[in-house]
């Protein structure tokens, strides 16, 4: 029942936000809900780490290694996002009803995210994926500016179209299961029935699911909505969207991966490799010319999703590296958006050219932005460095030298682009007066920095075991 309580907690927090007249209560309850969901997710993960799986309702709801990984990351980010929102929204939002409306939406969105990894049936998971879009639209459009509304419109129309295209692929897979006279459609039955399905059916289902969900993951060329939506929303929402929402949708593709592995000729792997490399390349070039620092990090999300796809396409040898990268990206990307949000608080501009001497305007925001930029670029000694290194090693082991060379070239380009922009912003003569950050924003930054720093130098055995357990879901 603990598993069901996880999405229910933010739902209750949302209800409190609707009913409570005092914003202090709403802020406290949202943060408490984040903390509670994190504690419960970690508890579920520890049980899964011990027993392998946690069954709630057979054929309906259960958690295994992979879904517990997503749950814990969602829990951690919901806590840091609540904490960051506390000080950030208090300072930027003048209207109390609008701030309350923000917390209602934030909690609903978090609840919908928690629903995705707990369902065992692809069709129900699709319903949850659709909910993540519907319940985050008003967070993207929250600023109510023409730009925010434009971003929200593109986000809604393109990602809902993608999800509806994906459901066609899911119907095809369920049809394939039905033809084997199996009455239940779960991830497991789809995988076990797939060798008996026709190759044409599997290929068509794969293309629709890959393009459909890939649209919401932000794979190039279906990524056009992502830099807009992930840069226009309030920073805590950007952290959730870029840090965990896209990975949660990629989780759905990963869940169906064992079924697609039976397609002869490495069909699925080739698609993942090609689209992954195109995403990394396109985003690296676009990152050079951006003028808006939140957009810079949004393109970095497209790049990171590309890396994850490449890891998926490299085969079973890179599954561990893939999940490690998914985890470290979620932790690091949320940190970069919190840092970007802190910079926005002290400068009130998103334009890179208009910010200089950040380190003197706000030492905390400046330092955090610079080092989080280095961390998301893959520099040592931060967590992402180790996981990217594992992917490089996996491509060498799989004898994909060409993939490795391209990946190295594009990642270097992206790293230079990030560093160039951040160097301009952090150093030089200050363009703004010195401003102090709200305490909860600083607390959120410190909390987010802990795993990014710790996992870069020390990787506990229990996390190694947990990730190894999670790779089981990706194998046949």
């Amino acid at each position: 029942m603990t598993v069901i309580a996880i999405p229910l907690i933010p739902l209750i927090a949302s209800l409190v936000a609707v009913l409570s007249r005092r914003l202090a209560v709403t802020r406290t309850v949202t943060t408490a809900a984040g903390l509670l969901t994190l504690i419960l997710s970690v508890w579920v993960a520890s049980v899964v780490n011990e027993k392998g799986t946690m069954l709630v309702f057979p054929n309906w709801i259960a958690v295994d290694g992979l879904s517990s990984l997503i749950l814990v990351l969602q829990g951690f980010l919901s806590l840091t996002a609540a904490l960051f929102s506390w000080g950030y929204m208090k300072r930027v939002t003048r209207s109390r009803p609008r701030e309350r409306w923000y917390y209602v939406n934030l909690n609903l969105f978090i609840a919908s995210l928690f629903m995705v990894p707990i369902f065992l049936q692809p069709a129900l998971t699709w319903v949850a994926v659709e909910l993540t879009t519907i319940l985050s639209v008003f967070l993207v459009s929250f600023e109510n500016t023409p730009q925010a509304l434009e971003a929200a419109w593109k986000y809604t129309v393109i990602t809902i179209m993608g999800a509806t295209v994906a459901v066609f692929g899911i119907f095809l897979l369920i049809w394939g299961v039905t033809q084997q006279h199996v009455d239940v459609d779960t991830w497991a039955t789809v995988a076990s029935a797939s060798p008996h399905m026709s190759v044409s059916l599997l290929k068509l289902a794969f293309v629709f699911i890959f393009i459909g969900f890939g649209t919401k993951v932000g794979i190039v060329p279906m990524h056009t909505w992502l830099p807009d939506a992930h840069s226009q929303a309030p920073s805590a929402v950007c952290a959730l969207l870029s840090g965990i929402e896209v990975s949660t949708i990629l989780y759905v593709i990963m869940r169906l991966w064992p079924a697609f592995l039976v397609i002869p000729g490495g069909f699925a792997e080739r698609w993942a490799l090609i689209f992954g490399l195109i995403s990394v390349a396109t985003s690296a070039f676009l990152m050079i010319q951006v003028k808006d620092y939140k957009r810079l990090f949004a393109f970095s999300t497209v790049e990171q999703m590309g890396i994850l796809l490449v890891a998926l396409g490299l085969g079973a040898g890179s599954n561990y590296a893939l999940l490690c990268q998914l985890m470290t990206h979620a932790l690091t990307k949320s940190l970069t958006f919190y840092s970007a949000g802190a910079v926005l608080l002290v400068t009130s501009t998103l334009n890179i050219a208009n910010v200089r001497g950040l380190i003197r305007i706000s030492p905390i925001a400046g330092t955090s932005l610079l080092f989080s930029g280095l961390a998301i670029g893959g520099a040592p000694p931060f967590a992402l460095f180790l996981s990217e290194l594992s992917i490089f090693k996996a491509s060498l082991t799989a004898s994909r030298i060409f993939v490795l060379v391209l990946l190295l070239a594009f990642l270097t380009l992206a790293f230079i682009a990030i560093l160039r922009h951040l160097n301009h912003m952090v150093f030089g003569k200050p363009t703004h007066a010195r401003v102090k950050l709200p305490r909860t924003v600083t607390a959120s930054l410190i909390l987010s920095w802990i795993p990014v720093l710790v996992l870069g130098v020390y990787f506990p055995g229990s996390i190694h075991h947990w990730l190894t357990l999670a790779t089981v879901a990706l194998r046949r």
Binding site: V127, S198, L286, L350
Partner: protein, 223 residues
């Protein structure tokens, strides 16, 4: 005999379903696109009704009821009530792609759908093979329509057309699950409410429902 009649009715409904998609793609007046969407949804419900006997699946009555209630009553009502007469009476004077070219593309999409579906339906019945191809066809025409329309409401209805296409196939090839059908139906209404609220905000803040003109967010621009 009965099966033959049902099969013919299924083919007729399928043909009309496809026709409604093509006409929706080329219709300029927003209010007429909405009327065509209602007709298309009635045809979706009719298909589910026929499949009750073809597939001996009484559970499909849930699909009939949900489609009729949500797509032919609630969604048009929400759109009509919440968007002003001005929005509903708008005409798209210029299409991104002109009508003859769009019709040719729709023809190509139809050929492509049959090409993709043909290897899948070897031993399956006629109803399955026909509905699979028709659903895929309408879904792809919906995606194309969404890409080329520039007005908010026709784009919303193109989204719903994609949904109709996917579910036209879904009800023909999978077992109906009342819970999932209900969830999907409710989600359809939520999508409509969300996009309607967004459209109203666009009218207030940007002063237009011409979503094709929303191009301020691009590289080289920032707040």
């Amino acid at each position: 005999m009965m099966q033959q009649v049902l099969s013919s009715m299924n083919s007729l409904v399928g043909a009309l379903f496809l026709l409604s998609a093509v006409v929706m793609m080329t219709t300029r007046q927003t209010q007429n696109v909405l009327r065509l969407f209602v007709v298309q949804s009635v045809l979706l419900a009719a298909s589910a009704f026929i499949l009750i006997w073809v597939r001996h699946s009484a559970e499909l009555i849930v699909v009939v009821l949900i489609t009729i209630t949500f797509k032919t009553v609630i969604i048009p009502l929400v759109l009509n009530r919440s968007l002003g007469r001005e929005v509903r009476r708008r005409r798209e004077l210029e299409f991104v792609v002109n009508t003859p070219v769009s019709l040719l593309i729709a023809l190509g999409i139809t050929a492509l759908s049959y090409f993709f579906v043909e290897p899948l339906v070897g031993t399956s019945g006629t109803a399955v093979s026909e509905n699979l191809a028709m659903g895929l066809d309408v879904l792809l025409i919906g995606v194309y329509t969404l890409t080329v329309r520039r007005e908010a409401m026709p784009q919303i209805l193109a989204l719903m057309m994609i949904d109709n296409g996917a579910f036209y196939t879904g009800i023909a090839i999978t077992r109906a699950s009342a819970l999932i059908e209900l969830a999907a139906g409710l989600e359809g209404i939520m999508v409509i409410v969300v996009v309607v609220l967004l459209t109203r905000a666009l009218v207030q803040q940007v002063g237009t429902t011409e979503t094709g003109a929303l191009t301020t967010l691009k590289e080289g621009e920032s707040k």
